[in-house]
């Protein structure tokens, strides 16, 4: 049987394409390599009951996949490292029905108009492929508005003074602010910053047949047990509800089949391990910005830019230990953010000039609390001090952090290719990531970081520190327990931990400098459409999800005409 479209990947991008295509009457097959813990494909109003407030299962036992033993990735900073310096989990996003939407805490701001026009607004930077997007904010606005309704976003229009124009309000009001964010917002405001309630893909009121969030606190890294998250569940429910969509989980797409001019279908391996070929008129690829280029490369699709310009956001973490408990285990992980570090103001220009750069941009700063107790315990040294520290909880209940998702400039040398020898359990070469931040990111981080230390001190922090991911060469993580603390661990190494991956099939009008056109269609194979953040031209400093979903909706709308 040949369907109208095969969609590879059931994350936010693929689910959105499925919703738009089925609404137009298309038949689609959604293929997902991970397990299904989201909904009953036969009766999509029945939502699965598998998610839970269980730190072991979600944070320590790979419940949402990918398991690094059977689907590893490899990493190196540059070719100087040899074939690879690490094999295991590299910036993994869940591999499951719903993709990364299932465990993201869903901060979904829009980009701003200038984010699509960096080259014409600020100009080039040496050794970076800064370019304008072939689509601008005004064209994307109706799709932003549509997908905010589809996903279900809670937010306060007008709260962010730096936001782009909106054609309407958010579909839901903002939910309750976390106690720590009430304090950090007040301190940030007194330092001249402009915090606002983060637009969040979590229901603040019952919405689209799903309940309001009850602030269970197990949000980032966990699936929502009551399905109050705007993970792509709503779009998958709509698509499957039309009767036009089929969902094949535990099914890996190993290859796109092409006849040289266009794609004809895909080879898949199902849960039984049997290989077969499925045909379709169009193929929508939404495997995420690491797996999408991997699949294109596995398919032998030759374009010199496939996999290049990988961007991951440069994170600057400013953390402080407060005298009082903040109970960040209540609420939606992050409730407040500010955009001030995205601005190219006089201070930022001076800092750039001093470093020999024309401009620098930081990114969205999230106000957030500490993690969960198993992780916390693993940070502290073992022995008599363990329980005292756990009871006083400096690194969980009394921790507050400002995390900046810094703009990461596109560089052709930062890339995904196929590892020459490491394989997944099905026998296919895995994605190898070669990645080193540009000097711009280091300068922007050093410029914007210290300001947040002052805010933390203003809040009353008794201890503060700054660290980054990836860790800057030569820097060492500073442990609050002195150098003797041997088991101080964290998301701090040369491997970026942002979980924001972008840019590996960049869009543009010129086939020589881009892989796909403004509608995600591959220049060389026009019936293959990329519908995830692989198409991003630059990374802005915002979580990529809302923008990739808006682009997927636009690409799918263009397909159905």
């Amino acid at each position: 049987m040949t369907v109208d479209a095969i969609i590879v990947g059931s994350g936010p991008g693929g689910a959105t394409a499925a919703d738009v295509l089925t609404r137009a009457g298309w038949t689609v097959t959604i293929i997902e390599k991970g397990r299904n813990h989201l909904l009953d494909p036969e009766n999509p109003s029945r939502l699965a009951q598998d998610y839970s407030n269980d730190e072991i299962k979600f944070l320590h036992r790979h419940f949402l996949g990918p398991d690094p033993l059977i689907e590893p990735r490899t990493f190196r900073v540059s070719e100087d490292d040899g074939e690879r310096s690490y094999t295991g989990a590299v910036n993994s996003i869940p591999s499951t029905v719903g993709g990364g939407g299932t465990h993201a805490d869903g901060k979904v701001p829009r980009f701003r108009p200038e984010d699509f026009r960096l080259h014409s607004t600020y100009g080039p930077i040496d050794d970076a492929a800064v370019a304008d997007w072939p689509v601008d904010y005004d064209e994307l606005e109706p799709y932003y508005a549509e997908v905010e309704r589809l996903i279900g976003v809670a937010g306060s229009a007008g709260a962010n003074p730096f936001a782009g124009w909106r054609s309407g309000p958010y579909p839901m009001p903002s939910g309750a602010p976390m106690y720590g964010a009430v304090l950090s917002s007040a301190a940030a405001e007194s330092q001249g910053l402009h915090p606002y309630a983060a637009p969040t893909a979590a229901n603040s009121v019952p919405y689209d047949g799903r309940p309001a969030c009850n602030n269970c606190g197990h949000c980032a890294y966990f699936g929502c047990p009551i399905h109050a998250k705007g993970d792509p569940v709503a779009m998958l429910q709509h698509a499957l509800g039309t009767g036009q969509a089929e969902l094949l989980s535990e099914t890996f797409v190993s290859r796109l089949r092409t006849n040289g001019r266009e794609a004809t279908g895909v080879d898949v391996i199902g849960p039984d391990g049997v290989e077969r070929t499925l045909g379709a008129r169009f193929i929508v690829v939404a495997g995420g910005a690491i797996e999408t280029p991997r699949l294109l490369l596995l398919s032998g699709i030759e374009h010199p830019l496939v996999g290049r310009h990988l961007m991951m956001h440069f994170q600057t973490m400013n953390v402080g230990i407060m005298p009082q408990r903040l109970h960040a285990h209540r609420g939606r992980s992050v409730t407040h953010v500010h955009d001030d570090c995205m601005l190219v103001d006089d201070d930022a220009r001076d800092a750039a000039r001093a470093a020999g750069l024309p401009w620098i941009r930081g990114g969205l700063v999230e106000h957030g609390g500490g993690g969960h107790p198993v992780m916390e315990g693993q940070f502290y040294p073992w022995g008599p001090s363990h329980k005292k520290l756990m009871a006083e909880s400096p690194l969980r209940d009394r921790l507050w952090a400002f995390i900046m998702q810094g703009e990461d400039l596109p560089q052709a040398t930062n890339r995904v290719d196929l590892d020459p020898t490491v394989r997944d359990a099905r026998g296919f070469p895995v994605a190898r990531i070669t990645f080193k931040p540009h000097r711009h990111e280091l300068v922007a981080s050093a410029h914007h970081g210290p300001r947040h230390i002052r805010v933390l001190e203003d809040m009353g922090a008794t201890w503060t520190a700054t660290t980054t991911s990836p860790l800057v060469a030569g820097a060492t993580a500073r442990s609050p327990f002195g150098d003797g603390a041997t088991n101080y661990r964290g998301p701090i190494s040369a491997i970026p931990a942002s979980r924001h991956v972008m840019g590996t099939t960049r869009m543009g009008t010129d086939p020589a400098t881009s892989v796909v056109d403004a509608y995600g269609r591959m220049h060389d194979l026009p019936n293959v459409v990329v519908a995830d953040s692989s198409v991003f031209v630059t990374s802005a400093g915002y979580g990529p999800t809302l923008t990739l979903v808006a682009l997927a909706a636009r690409a799918a709308a263009a397909l159905v005409g």
Partner: protein, 186 residues
């Protein structure tokens, strides 16, 4: 009664866990059942479905049903991953597609042997010295101790949620959640 370790190994394990997370005026690793958690993890496949992923959506501690006790079944690929992780590759070609993998069972068998069969009878300082000498194993052991201590009790540790009580943490709170006032106020 341990399900996977032998009695001697289990005694050494308990003594080691007791040094990493000691007993004082509140329960330490031993009272919380951490050694049972670790033994259950090493013997996860002796139980059906295996003790890998507890179910959802709630435990019954704050209303709702007890779904945590119904562990998930594994797919063939997940079983492969977890047998590799726990048992190691044991020379089987289907587990060695990226080379041999040493499993936790081997790591524990060797690590506990290195601590010595007399470990339980040593003074605290001597025990710590041996734990520090075998740092690689101690790091693995400590990670698992923290899991057993602060993970959900359905996995075998954190008995009667003693460890959560000691740190003023409610653990899993569905379907109760928190009110807006509990979120926003001190």
């Amino acid at each position: 009664m341990p399900i996977w370790l032998n009695d001697d190994e289990f005694r050494t394990l308990s003594a080691a866990c007791g040094r990493l997370i000691p007993t004082d005026d509140t329960a330490g690793a031993v009272e919380a059942g951490v050694p049972q958690y670790i033994d259950g993890m090493l013997g996860a496949f002796l139980v059906d479905p295996p003790l890998i992923w507890a179910g959802g959506p709630s435990s019954g501690r704050f209303g709702g049903t007890d779904g945590f006790s119904r562990f998930h079944r594994l797919t063939a690929l997940d079983e492969l991953a977890w047998r590799m992780r726990i048992e190691g590759s044991l020379g089987m070609a289907e587990r060695e597609f990226n080379g041999p993998v040493v499993g936790w069972q081997q790591i524990y068998r060797d690590g506990l042997a290195a601590l010595g069969s007399d470990f339980g009878e040593l003074s605290g300082e001597e025990q710590d010295a041996r734990l520090r000498a075998g740092e690689e194993f101690t790091t693995v052991l400590y990670e698992h101790c923290c899991e057993g201590m602060y993970g959900a009790p359905e996995y075998g540790g954190n008995r009667d949620t003693v460890a959560w009580a000691a740190i003023d943490f409610l653990g899993d709170v569905q379907p109760r959640g928190f009110t807006d006032a509990e979120v926003s106020e001190p």
